[in-house]
Amino acid sequence: MVVAESQVENSAPFEVRDCALITLSTGLKAQNLKEFLMVLQKIPEESIEHHFWGRFLQPQFDEPEYNNDFASWASRGLYDKPLAERLSMVLPTDFEDIECLRQELIDVVEERLDETELVPWAKADQQFYFLRSQTIIFDSGLRFADPAEIVSFLPSLSTGSIYFHFIDARNRTPQRCDDFSAWLDGFGDQYQVLRNRLLGVDPYFSSLKELRRIVSELFQLYFQEEA
């Protein structure tokens, strides 16, 4: 029997995970842009990941001006706005793997060093500390077989769950997308509209609470429209 795509059922339920990070020092730091470049060339890949993604689980009180730690330091530590702007437009999902991402960062920094007469320096108490993190994944116990079931739970999902399924997922899923979109893809065309809307969410400038609100509203709106 041929099953129409719109009737495909995803056999795997959506398993809600939660997560937390534990931070480790790499023991490496930089006070000027040349030191930064040298360290960037040798830090573990996990450190690059941490400085792009780990900030989401840090306290935030306002909208971040830049969307990764490197760009923030270029602005606040080195007072080099052009560098901060360029680094903030380096998007990890544009690159095949972390080594390609590292190379792009190196290129941006080298270009900036070529342009400047003096190497930008930070004050002693504004050095950049290269960190890495260990991810601990918890089982929330929540399982959803049908996308409609998830709607009422989304507004109360922990920020750790949102991080795991919406941010961390981009490094895990073959499509480099969030877990919700990847799961909906398993239903064929049935939820393509919702999936496209989720794929259109830019996670880089939102807090996790804001992302939770956006994702909840997208699910809610979709099922209201379908009803």
């Binding site: 009180f61 500390y129 890495r132």
Partner: protein, 422 residues
């Protein structure tokens, strides 16, 4: 050896934490603790009363035990020369150029050797040993055949240590399996993993639990405070790095234009030989001003400190060096904006203009005191944000989660992802 007594059934204790921190937080702790069930984790420090480390251990040990971990707390003891030496370590790690005489270093080593023998059975049977600060750091050298991980936990702002003293201490630290620092800036080049774990406060402790209004009124009478006068408070042991003289100066500057009273509340820690000398300096600086209340409280006056912090309009922690500054989180938990020194762990807690103000001088502190005393609504708004920040980041449940993750990482020999509870 003290097996920390659990005052109530483990389930009840966890439920009480769940009521404050959230059920899912406890669920995470249970998932992390499950693979470590029955493991014997021995913490060692140098004092059972006084100071932030003892306070954290008093609460951490029962919680670990409630989760099925055999947590034990040992304390090293020594003569006054030992504490004189370790106070020198403390000052040197915080950047003070202080040379420590050879005879004190020999006393340090002898005291650690003596304590190693006294604690040998406890430490040899441990699955994990966590050594707090430099005082017991040399214990490890007396266990050359150890097979289980030993972790060194540094609670001190070691961002700019006095090099000769750090070089001496480093040889004791290097053989550890891992070390823990409160901030990335404090980490030092060491040949083992260095975890960054911020300290925490216990929301259920006598120091931080909610108090009835009558109890708050009582502290006014007890200490002769004027209930109609705005009050600022710094709670700290009498230690130069806490800059009590700077706080008095800030009060004097602010009081020229804004009527207020200052409470300096400190206690003694049994491992701090300099406290009385600093207290004398403080009393002299007050010059008999009746609106400055210098209190020397016993180490167990937690409820009194709680009431004083809740009575205050603004909490101050104007340290010039600070490992973390538990009193900052305590004040914030009570919904107070905090004016803190722009240093160490205080920076981790005070988000400038959001949860309080970071200052570098007595003049800066005076300016912010005046500003906040004139802006009641802003004070309350900042206080609410401060409480929320502590709730999400600086409660003991987060601290314990990170400790358990570290132990599990050491147990499974992984620095990568770990999945639990699945």
């Amino acid at each position: 050896m003290m097996e920390a007594a659990t005052p109530e059934q483990p389930h009840d204790l966890l439920e009480r934490y769940a009521a404050v921190a959230g059920r899912e937080v406890i669920h995470h702790l249970e998932q992390l603790a499950a693979p470590l069930k029955g493991a014997r984790v021995v913490h060692v420090n140098s004092t059972r009363e006084g100071g932030g480390v003892a306070e954290i251990l008093q609460k951490l040990i029962p919680l670990k035990r409630a989760l099925g971990i055999d947590a034990v707390w040992e304390v090293v003891d020594g003569a006054s020369a030992f504490y004189e030496c370790t106070k020198g370590f403390h000052n040197a790690l915080q950047g003070l150029s202080t040379s420590i005489p050879e005879d004190l270093l020999r006393e340090y080593e002898a005291t650690n050797a003596r304590n190693a023998e006294r604690l040998r059975k406890s430490l040899e049977t441990a699955d994990f040993v966590i050594i707090h600060d430099p005082q017991p750091a040399a214990l490890l050298s007396h266990f050359p055949d150890r097979r289980r991980p030993w972790v060194w936990r540094c609670h001190i702002d070691a961002s700019h240590p006095y090099r000769p003293v750090w070089k001496y201490l480093r040889k004791w630290i290097i053989p550890y399996s891992a070390s823990i620092f409160s901030l990335p800036e404090f980490a030092q080049p060491l040949p083992h993993p260095q975890y960054i774990i911020a300290p925490s406060i216990d929301p259920l402790s006598e120091k931080n639990c909610d108090l009835p209004a009558a109890e708050l009124r009582q502290v006014h009478e007890r200490f002769g405070l004027d209930p109609d006068l705005p009050m600022i408070i710094q709670v700290s042991r009498y230690d130069r790095f806490k800059d009590p003289l700077g706080v008095i100066r800030a009060y004097q500057l602010a009081a020229k234009l804004t009527p207020l009273q200052l409470v300096l509340a400190g206690g003694e820690a049994s491992d701090d030989p300099e406290g009385m000398a600093v207290l004398e300096e403080v009393r002299r600086a007050v010059k008999g001003d009746p609106r400055v209340h210098v209190l020397l409280l016993p180490a167990d006056a937690h409820r009194t400190i709680n009431a004083l912090q809740r009575t205050a309009d603004i909490v101050v922690q104007k340290s010039i060096r600070e490992g973390f500054g538990l009193t900052v989180a305590e004040g914030m938990w009570k919904g107070k904006p905090v004016i803190g020194g722009d240093t160490g762990g205080i920076r981790l807690q005070i988000y400038n203009h959001y949860t309080g103000f970071l200052v570098r001088t007595p003049e800066g502190a005076a300016l912010r005191v005046r500003y906040l005393l004139h802006r009641r609504e802003l004070r309350e708004e900042m206080g609410q944000r401060a409480r929320r920040l502590v709730h999400e980041n600086f409660l003991i449940t987060r601290h314990l989660r990170e400790y358990l993750a570290l132990l599990l990482g050491l147990e499974t020999n992984t620095l990568g992802r770990m999945q639990v509870g699945a």
